[in-house]
Structure formats: C-alpha cells, structure tokens
Symmetry: D2
Subunit: 286 residues, 4 copies
C-alpha cells in the first residue's frame, strides 16, 4: 500500500542579474520544488497522466524568475508554491525551498563597484513556502551555516556523571557552532528582508552577550530573544552542532597552555536542537 | 516556551578488529546518539544536572564496543539505545543511528586474505534503534548511496504537460539513482544480517527486471516486492534521486547519437520519495 | 612577462553505452583537456585568434567518443591528445586526463545482468596522455582512492626522537591508506587493460604480504614489486596518506583494549610520497 | 631505485586565542609540514633511524604556536621550516604550508565585539615557506577560493573555430571564477600582512575594472598589475576556473531573456592558469 509520497526537482541553480545603468544587482539561488497529491496511479499502475515532469518544474522556476526583479526569497518561494497548486489539479500541497548565497559588491577606490562582486561563502539564507489546496500556507525563513565562535563567557559544569564520564567541569571554554535557524511567520506577506536582517542580528547579539552554561542554555536564549523582539516570528527551530575546540596538552613539552592553543575537531561533534515557540502557537512545521 | 528538543553526539567513528589467529575481521561504524527527555531546566535555567555530556555518549559507545564482537549493527544500536534509557533517568527516548562502511578481504594468490582489506566506498549500511522509557522500541535498517543504473526497460511518457513543458516522451532512457531505502522491523530481534542481504537483493532484482514507466513506478515495485517477500519488514521508505543522463546532441557535428553518448549531470536532479507499507501497518517513524 | 601557462576544460562527464543485443556495456568517464602553446597574444593583447574555446574541447570529447567503443582509457586519452596537436597549429603540447569510475553488473538469479549495473564508488582508474608537437608522447595510468587496511604485520619503531616526540614504538598497529599510484609506460600502445589489472594486483599483494616497518617501507616495496614484475612500467609514483586508527584508551572505564577498538581520524594525517624508478629511467612526468 | 620522495603531516588544525583584557583575537590555521632528505634507508631497508614521526611534526606546530602571538602566517611558516632543518640533520629541505580561515568580529550595538566572532567561509589565506639546508629560502603567499563575478565588461569573441565549435561570439557575458593566486617574495622578511592586503586589493581592482576579452586576458592583467604595483612580489601564479553562467533559453515559453536569467553550472568548467613574472626573475617554485 502506498503511504506518504512526494516528488520534485532539487538543485535548480538560478543566477539573476538586474541592470539599472551601471549599477547591477545579482541574486544567486538554489531551489527545490516538491509536490504531494494524487500520484497513486503513477506508482501503482505506471500511469503518468497526473505527473508534471520535474523538468517542467525547473522550466517554471526560470520562466517565473524572468517576470520578477531580484527580491525577497520568501516571496519567490510563496509565488512558486501557489503557482503549482493553481495550475496543476492533482497537486494537494506544494513546497518550495530556496537557499540564497549572498554576493557583496567589491570595493574599488573606496567605493562599492556597480557590477563586480564577491561571494563570501559559508552562510546561506533560507526560505520556504508550503501551499495547500485548501489555501493554507506557511512561510519560513532562516539562516544556515552561520559559523560563530565565542572565546569568553562560556562554561559547562555541574552536569550528570556516570561511570563512563571523563569530562571535567570547565568555566572557560570556546563555544563554536554552525548555526541553522529556521523560523515561521504568521503572515504570508511582510517586510521579509528587514525581518530577516533583524532576526539574524538578534541571534548574533544574544550569542555574543549570553553567559552560557551550555549549548542548550544559549540556544534557548537565542530563540527566546527572537520571539520577544520580533512579533512576526511564530516559532523558531535552532540547530547547533557543537564544534569542539580542545585545548592542546603542552605539558609533555614543559609548556603551559593558558587557554590559548586549541585543536579544532570535526568528528565527533555534539548536536543540540530545539524548537522555541510562543505559548499560544499551534504545532508548526518548522 | 521550549518545544521539542533533543541533543546528542554525532560522527562517532569506531573501527573494531576481531582476531582469531591469522583471520581477522574488521567493522567500520559511524554512530550518532540522540536523547530526548527532561532537559527543560538546562535550556531555561542553565541547570545541567540532567545533562549527560555528549562526551560520555562517545565514551559509552567505545566501552560497550569493547564488550561485543563485530556483529549486526541493528543489535548494537538497540543495545546502546536501551543502555541510555536504563542508566539515565531523565531520558524519555533514545535514538541511536549507525552507518556501516563495508570492508572486503583482499584476494591474494586467488584466496581471501586473513588480515588485509579494501573498502569499496560508496554504499553504506544503515541501522537505527529508538527506545522509549515505556519500553516501546523500533528497529530500522537500510542502505544508503546504493548507486544503480539500468540501460534498458526504462521509459517516461504520457505525462502531464503545461505551457512550460518542453520534455519529450521517451521509451528508452537511462535510469540511474543513488538509492536510500530504510525499512522497519516488527520485532526487536531477528536474523538481521540475513534479512538485510535478502532485502537488498530484492531491491536490486526488482530494479533490474522492472519495466519502468517512471521512477515512481519502479520505486513502488521495489517497495512492494520487499514487503511481499520479507514478512519481517513492516514498511519501507525509498528515496530515489533521478540522476539524469542526457543524450548529447551530436547533430551539429553531423554525427548520429544512437542512445550511446550521455552527459551525466549532478544538478538539477529529480527527487522521488515514498513509503510503502502493509495495509494493516500503523504509522511508523521510518 | 608571461611565464608558463595553459588552459583547458575540466570536469567533462561522459557516460557511454554499447549495446549488443541484451548485453550492454557502460563506461563512465570524467575528462580534462589542457593545452600549452602560442597563447601569448590572448594574455597580453586580448587577441583570441589562437584560442580554441574550451567549449570546443568538450564537444570534441563527445564527438570522438561517438566514434569509438568503450575501451581502455589510455587509448582514448592518447587519441584525444593527438587530435588537439594535429588539428590546432598553436598547440605545442596537449595533455588529456581521464578518471574512470567502474560500474559492475548486478547479479540477479545468480547471474550477471545484461543491462543493470551498480557503481561501487570509491576507487577510480586514472589515465593520462601527453602529446607534444615534436611527436614525444607519454602515457600514464593509475589508481586513485584505493582504500586499503591491514590489521597485522605493521610496525613503527626505532624512529628519531626529539623533545617534541611523544609517540611510542609499536609493533602491531593498523595500517590504512587511500592509495594513489600512477605509473608511466615506455610505449604508447600496449595491453593496457591487462597491465592495469596486473599492476593493481601486484600493489595489493605486496601491501597485504609485506612486513611493514613504516609507510615508507611498504610504499617502496609496492613500487619495487611493480617494476620487477611489469616490464612495461617505467616508473611509478605512490602517494599514501596515513589514515590513522588510534587505539581507544579504555583504562578509565576499567576495561582492557587488546588492540581491538580504534577511533578512525581524518585530521591530521601523515602523507608519504615517493617515486620508484628503474635505474636507467630518465626523469619523467609521473 | 628510489626517486624523489618526501613525507610529512597534513591537516594540522590549530586555533589560537590571544587575550588582552576583554579584547580577544583568534587565528584559525590548517598546516602541513613536508620534509625531504636522507630517508632512503627507511624506504629500502625499513630502518627508521632518520625518520622523525609525523606525530612529532604535529606536536612541534602546537609547541611553537604556544611561543608566539597570532600574526602573519608567512612568518610562522618560515620559522617552522627553519626549525625542522635546524633540529633534524637528515632533512635537506622543509616545506610548511599554512591556510588561514579568517574570523571577523561580530557587530553588536553597532560596535565590534571583543570576544565573539563569525567565520565568513569561502576565501582562505595561503602562505608557504621552503627552507633548504644550504640556507636557501622561499616565502610565498596567496589567496584561494576567492569567488568573484563581474556582470559587465566581459566578452569572448574572435576565437579559433573548427568543425566541433558551436560556441558563438559574445560581447556581454558573466565572468565568474574562484581565484587562486600565489606569489613569491624576494625577501624572507617584509610587512607581510600589509602586502597581502594590498595585493589582494590590486587583484580585485583589476578584475573589476578590466575590459575583459577572455579569462586569459583578465588573468594576465591582474598578474601584471600586482607586479607593477608591488615591488616585493617576484612572480605570481594565477589559477582561474571559468565558472560558467549560461543564459537560459526562455524562447520556448515566449519570453525574452535580456541577459538576466542564468543557470550556474559546476561541470564542466574551463581552467586557465598562468605565471606572470618580472623579466629578470629566475624560475621559481610558485
């Protein structure tokens, strides 16, 4: 028996340029489209009549991009999700996810250049829209791979111990993570770009200023601050891998290590994840 | 308000060697442990009393490994999940995931060598166990990155079209995917290694022999065959990216391309996903 | 002043299918083309008259593929390199590199299937050809990412020590590497496929059987064995990262670790590299 | 017969923190050490007496880090290279390579934070030092993965054509690359940090302002500008993959594409590489 199923296109790479005289803008997106609906006959009987090809999804992204200027990815995701529900009857739910890699203007002669850019790498902006046939809609936004580190005000002590515990209490450790944060909006239209910038800044401010007793402690403070300061955010999910930085033991060489020399490790890593939501919020999909 | 949350350790790398005289066995695992439970105070108040360090989870994996011989990863996952629930009161649910990378014996002088091995790369074996405080337990197993290709008996035609559709019907295309299949078991103990081998073979047999009208069609046939032939499997989730192989247009060079020369592309890719389950199966977590 | 320079196309992905009735063959190649020659005017004056577009290099690979059956990549690399020198006057030297990812037939009903395949992943086959305008030519072949491990007959002791040395002698360690070996041929035509299989087996046999006192020791033995047993190979370069497997200290848990439980680490890693050549060999480009 | 050989340690991960009251500095390095010398006996006879363990190289990096403040990586590379030649008699040449990933201070309350940082990702800073027993020394510096794009003043026309050429002349294309540039210094001591910043800016200025007729044309202009404006740089090697952005054909949908909608591709890619040097420069190792 066929259970939950979906299909779509991932890894659609779109770079869009807007030109106003000598001043150009660039937007660099990677999109995925996923559809749920009446696709049972394709699975069970090999009848493709309800299947819109994933190649068409890709074409649709490019065609709809041609009709818009670079702008908030939340809007583009929403419009694409609405399109697939509106134009294709078997679809019960469309989900569009967009990851944006920012490009910055090069500075030449001390001024931002009009048409030359640098991509810093790392951090991406996320947005997704889910649109159902009944009109229900959810817009989410987020950041991914926001790599941050603090060298003060981070402790981890007083934890549970058992016979396999060798870790010692510490009151001064490096705390580093590659933050993924995804929040949902109550409304399908808003000043998404300003909100994104504000929420990102709140996350960073809180990370920097918090007296951290654990990753969980700081994660929750970050989520709480976002909900307190940004009424438009309904709930937020934070994922924080603990990118361990271990002090190197220099004692064998007769040297002190005054919390100064660390080895950064990739594996294994802690992984801390939580949703913070408003008391009244219904369970969401973030 | 704190919503769903969990924490754990990922990327725990374990290589285990068993030696019986000149004949050695090697098992190469990457594990993750994730706990849910009464961790609110850590988040909200910075009180770590209920937090077993993720470093201890790592130590536990190595310590429990020392007490076992290399064997089915389903069992090791299950025993680890049980351990964390049994030994740490705040835990309401423990989930352990294991990925195994197989090593094969080198052949020297036409015979398998006793202590030299090759890792083929690619395909990994998956297992996971979820154990709740009330005793509920789920064992899953799977394969990931099983890259397969068929050069016959694959069509895609008769699909829905709209104004953005440019794809043409084809009755003879390459069908390639990197299969991920995860199935759940009804019982917490079984001949897991033999079952895994059998289910994997069923997946491959069906993929090879199926007259495919779409990825969905073949995916469903594969899932259905597993449930038909392997009573122990309760349901199965298949994820099949469509790794497109596009025929190269050689017409500009005055050359025919008789379905022989393809460019393999990474982006974009189709992504097809479905659960196939027995009619009576309650909804699972696969 | 313009110094050494070259240009070309990399990452050309070609999958080729040959069909004889129900029995198909598949070859999966990634190619790069690089040209040296009279390209100064393009650099200095922006005059492109001598520049064959890299897009044309890609087209050429597909067009020449159409005229051949799947076969030894050494031959395909050679013919492509010859082509660019023969057809484009400014070229003084062409170098073509090919990496082949093998596909194996699926076994169904105990027999190899005619048109369904699995790609094991990991190990790739390498070939390259360099062809100069004066007719000089060099063919190289190799393997890359051949991940091998031995659990016996590997020691590392009696090494140099200084005040920063903490490593202890060991007479029984795991030895693991991801071998890259590239050898050159004296002739531009040979039974390349049989030679490749033979040399690969010699490398594996020697790795398995050698009483290793260090990575260097085993590396040299492997290279020496290839030159002794395969007269066609002129010289060989071996690159062997030392993929460290460190015994886990279980003493804190009151457990012994009888050389059985290891953590596999990615970083840092040793890197050992050497060329082994016949006494009479002139310096080559391997 | 043993030909050229070397060994060393790669992937040594060092994060160093310097603290002056509330203001901390962070430096994040990945180092590799490679030694050449009298290591024949280890290869041929398994005699390790001349082999300093790669584990000791790692220890040395951490121990010497403890005695320095974060500073120019050119100096740290040089001092490490000198150390291995000075302390270990069999070494004839030591090469140390360092890649630095920059961390930026977070801005909170409109001001740079004292102890919280963000790693932008992407671009890395390179330095290497090669020190020989005879005292000869070479210092190199560079940037890697500097991803840049220009949306104006980039053409590619008037190129050579043959029967496999389908590319058309264009006078307005996107030009994008992930620049790797490595330059060598004439002196072993200099204001390396200021020089690096200046050379990087010259590379970016030239890329932005150049009327590009090809990648080669712009690459050469960038190298020439560096040598003209920075007397300390002896020569420079530039590697510029051509990260193709292809205009999407929207004609099938009745839409124009006025150089606005592009698909960014990863494979295949052009690869352009050249050394630019001063007329008097002797051949170097860049």
């Amino acid at each position: 028996m066929l259970g939950p199923n979906s299909y779509g296109k991932s890894g659609i790479r779109l770079v869009q340029v807007a030109r106003r005289g000598d001043r150009h803008d660039v937007q660099d997106l990677t999109l995925s489209v996923r559809l749920e609906g009446e696709f049972g006959a394709a699975h069970v009987a090999g009848d493709n009549a309800a299947i819109l090809p994933t190649d068409t999804m890709k074409n649709t992204v490019y065609a709809l991009a041609a009709g818009r200027a670079p702008g908030p990815i939340e809007i583009f995701a929403r419009d694409l999700a609405r399109h697939f529900v509106a134009t294709h009857a078997p679809v019960s739910l469309a989900r569009v996810e967009i990851a944006e890699r920012p490009w910055e203007r090069l500075e030449t002669g001390g001024r931002p250049h009009g048409s030359a850019f640098r991509r810093p790498g790392g951090e991406t902006r996320l947005a997704s829209a889910t649109h159902g046939r009944g009109g229900e809609e959810m817009i989410e936004a987020g950041v991914d791979d926001l790599v941050i580190l603090k060298t003060s005000r981070s402790a981890f002590a007083g934890f549970a111990r058992d016979r396999f515990t060798t870790l010692r209490d510490t009151n001064d450790r490096l705390l580093a993570t590659a933050l993924r944060a995804v929040w949902s909006y109550a409304e399908a239209d808003a000043a998404f770009s300003a909100l994104r910038a504000g929420i990102r800044q709140t996350l960073l401010d809180t990370f920097a200023e918090h007296d951290s007793r654990s990753v969980q402690h700081t994660l929750y403070a970050m989520g709480e601050a976002v909900l307190e300061r940004h009424a438009e955010a309904r709930e937020i999910r934070l994922t924080m891998p603990n990118k361990h930085h271990l002090p190197v033991d220099l004692a064998p060489f007769g040297l002190p290590n005054e919390n100064a020399v660390f080895v950064a490790t990739e594996e294994p890593f802690g992984l801390i994840e939580a949703v913070v939501r408003r008391p009244e919020a219904p369970p969401g999909r973030s």
